[in-house]
């Protein structure tokens, strides 16, 4: 039996023209799916009613923006602009690197939609159904791209729904660093539903750093569906700055041996911000290592969620999986919901996970005060000291400095 569901959120939206088959499938799936409620385990602590019960408008890349406002010069990056979810070739820098291709995703792109979690995540399906002008980045075999790519997402009008779609393919023994940042300055009630598919081929090395900073009235759901092959290294860093609502879903399928996977994140929500980080690492093959460090400092009435799932499949022997989530609540009204989940079906594995949620060390604050450091500065110093472990996971010094600012 199939049921057809009408979702208000999709009202008025024009479907994707990237790949008609993919779009058709997604639309069909969508009409049979329902949005998760808090009854579903994966969304237990994150209510999305406010986001999905609204009607949004789509907008093309024609919005007026001053690109300079968003470019971080110190990164010396190839700046790529995605406006209201649309990759804008016009605003983006020309690529001068051999072996690197930046283009719109087209029907010829065989990797498109091959990794996306359409079946299991309605937001991915939504993106596949309505994404337009997706961005495709590919690095050829044996090519190390030294210059990072900075993908700058900007929403330009209130009530816009942006469905940015990014496809990143690293061929064998290639290397690439991508930074995705998200902004929605001076506007309200925007919803960014971002999906990024990444294939990290044999012996390739990929780093993705996400900076979410859309402001006090914007929501983002960012889903990364990533696949790693033999001997590859993946790093994903997620930094959530001012953002009313964020739900980050990182799904890594480690389908090769001798892989290393690092997932790190930091969040420091204030007011009523709600920051949810879900990670899932599937170890499908033996001899791999994965490590996760997520840290949060929560103020006011903010809410944090961390759910880290590591699944070590049968035959994936000699896996080392480490996971850590530490939080500090700096107000009595902030809450943190942390849940590490290990599912191990192999017998020769080394796993550890720990989560802590606590308050600031009052003794340390008093000690600093007694030396002439004001209480606010003292707290700031302790926050920085606490967060440094995550910041130090950023290998690019310029990027680390710009994020810490």
């Amino acid at each position: 039996m199939t049921t057809t569901t009408i979702h208000p959120i999709t009202e008025n939206l024009i479907p994707s023209t990237i790949n008609n088959v993919a779009t058709e499938n997604a639309l069909n799936l969508l009409s049979a799916m329902t949005f998760p409620t808090r009854k579903s385990e994966d969304w237990k602590y994150t209510r999305i009613n406010k986001i999905i019960k609204k009607e949004y408008i789509q907008k093309d890349a024609s919005g007026e923006i001053n690109t300079k406002d968003f470019i971080e010069e110190s990164l010396n990056a190839i700046n790529v602009f995605v406006i209201n979810g649309h990759y804008s070739t016009e605003l983006s820098d020309a690529n001068k690197n051999d072996g690197l291709v930046l283009e719109k995703i087209t029907i010829d792109n065989i990797n498109y939609n091959s990794l996306a979690s359409n079946q299991t995540n309605i937001f991915t399906t939504l993106n596949t159904a309505y994404a337009n002008n997706g961005l495709s980045i590919s690095v050829q075999k044996n090519t190390k791209i030294k210059q990072p790519i900075h993908i700058i997402h900007v929403n330009t009008i209130s009530n816009v729904i942006a469905n940015p779609r990014t496809l990143i393919v690293l061929e064998q023994s290639s290397e690439l660093e991508v930074i995705q940042s998200y902004y929605a300055p001076t506007i309200e009630d925007t919803f960014t539903n971002s999906v990024t598919e990444v294939l990290v081929s044999e012996n390739a090395k990929f780093t993705l750093t996400k900076i979410e900073n859309e402001g006090a009235n914007s929501s983002i759901i960012a889903t990364d569906d990533i696949k790693q092959l033999n001997d590859s290294t993946l790093r994903v860093n997620t930094f959530t700055k001012r953002q009313e609502f964020a739900r980050n879903g990182i799904n890594v399928s480690v389908d090769g041996q001798n892989c290393a996977t690092y997932l790190n994140g930091a969040y420091s929500p204030i007011k009523k911000e709600h920051i949810d980080n879900h990670t899932r690492v599937d170890h499908l093959q033996p001899n791999c290592m994965s490590s996760e460090i997520y840290k949060g400092v929560l103020n006011d009435k903010s809410v944090g969620v961390f759910n880290g799932k590591v699944i070590v499949h049968v035959d994936a022997q000699k896996i080392e999986a480490y996971q850590k989530n530490n939080n500090v609540l700096i107000s009595d009204t902030a809450t943190m919901n942390a849940k590490p989940e290990l599912e191990i079906f192999a017998d020769d594995v080394k796993c550890s996970h720990g989560t802590t949620t606590g308050q600031f060390d009052e003794e340390a604050i008093f000690y600093l005060q007694a030396r002439g450091i004001s209480k606010d500065t003292a707290k700031m110093m302790l926050v920085e000291a606490f967060m440094d472990e995550v910041y130090n996971e950023i290998e690019n010094d310029n990027l680390r400095n710009s994020i810490k600012k």
Partner: protein
């Protein structure tokens, strides 16, 4: 030598409803060294914490005048800026905050409060070098996180190093001598004596007469059960060493 630095009048304080200080009176003038001795649990550290501004304690009576100001009205950091320094009996370890960054921040905030020019990077390094030498603080320790992984003795040295950096008008040393070996005791005492001048003052809290061989007190007080029960000169310390506290 008649400028009053601190005047504690009938100070009472309690924690969790339990009265710890029961009317402390003490006046310290510029150029003086006062020693406070007394049995465990008598309230010595409580007195220093209350003076430094720890807010867990409830002040139930009395007053404290510091350089003519109502000390109890100020936040802990303001008290530090005004020139009060407490060397902690148990210095706190603060992971991830470097000793240098910590001191630089402290000095900068102080000059901001006093409307003075901040110390230049060059002068800061010069001062660090000079003051670290004074207490023979190991070079490696300067760059580590505040007290993290320091030995007991190293922590105490670090307290005096900080005191030297901050140049307080009144320093309260809460059992800075405990845990120091005899050589360290000499070094630390020598540091304190070098910092001592006619315009500042020191209160040393100690259990041992031996410290007072190096830092000579003008007055020795006995604090027992939350009150100063006896005051004398340095000979009182010798007497206490011999007879214990029972006779006072």
């Amino acid at each position: 030598m008649s400028n009053t630095i601190i005047k504690i009048k009938n100070l009472s304080a309690s924690i969790e409803g339990k009265e710890i200080l029961k009317g402390v009176n003490l006046e310290v003038k510029a150029g003086e060294v006062h020693a406070i001795m007394g049995p465990n649990g008598s309230g010595k550290s409580t007195l220093s914490s209350v003076l430094a501004g720890r807010d867990e304690y409830e002040i139930t009576g009395g007053s404290v005048e510091f350089l003519g100001k109502d000390l109890l009205e100020y936040d802990p950091e303001e008290r530090a800026w005004l020139g009060l320094f407490l060397a902690f009996q148990y210095p706190v370890e603060i992971a991830g905050v470097s000793n240098m960054n910590f001191l630089k921040t402290a000095l900068h905030e102080k000059s901001k409060y006093l409307n003075e020019d901040p110390i230049s990077a060059k002068d800061f390094l010069k001062r660090v070098k000079e003051k670290a030498a004074l207490v023979e603080l190991d070079d490696k320790l300067k760059n580590r996180s505040v007290n993290e992984g320091f030995s007991g003795g190293e922590k105490k040295r670090n307290e005096i190093f900080q005191m030297a950096m901050l140049e307080p008008i009144l320093a309260i040393l809460d059992e800075t001598d405990s845990g120091l070996d005899i050589d360290a005791l000499k070094v630390v005492s020598n540091g304190v004596n070098t910092l001592k001048n006619k315009d500042n003052a020191i209160i040393v809290i100690t259990h041992y007469q031996r410290l007072l061989d190096y830092i000579t007190p003008d007055f020795v007080h006995v604090l027992a059960d939350g009150k100063i029960v006896k005051t004398g000169d340095k000979n009182l310390a010798l007497e206490l060493e011999e007879k214990g506290y029972d006779w006072v």
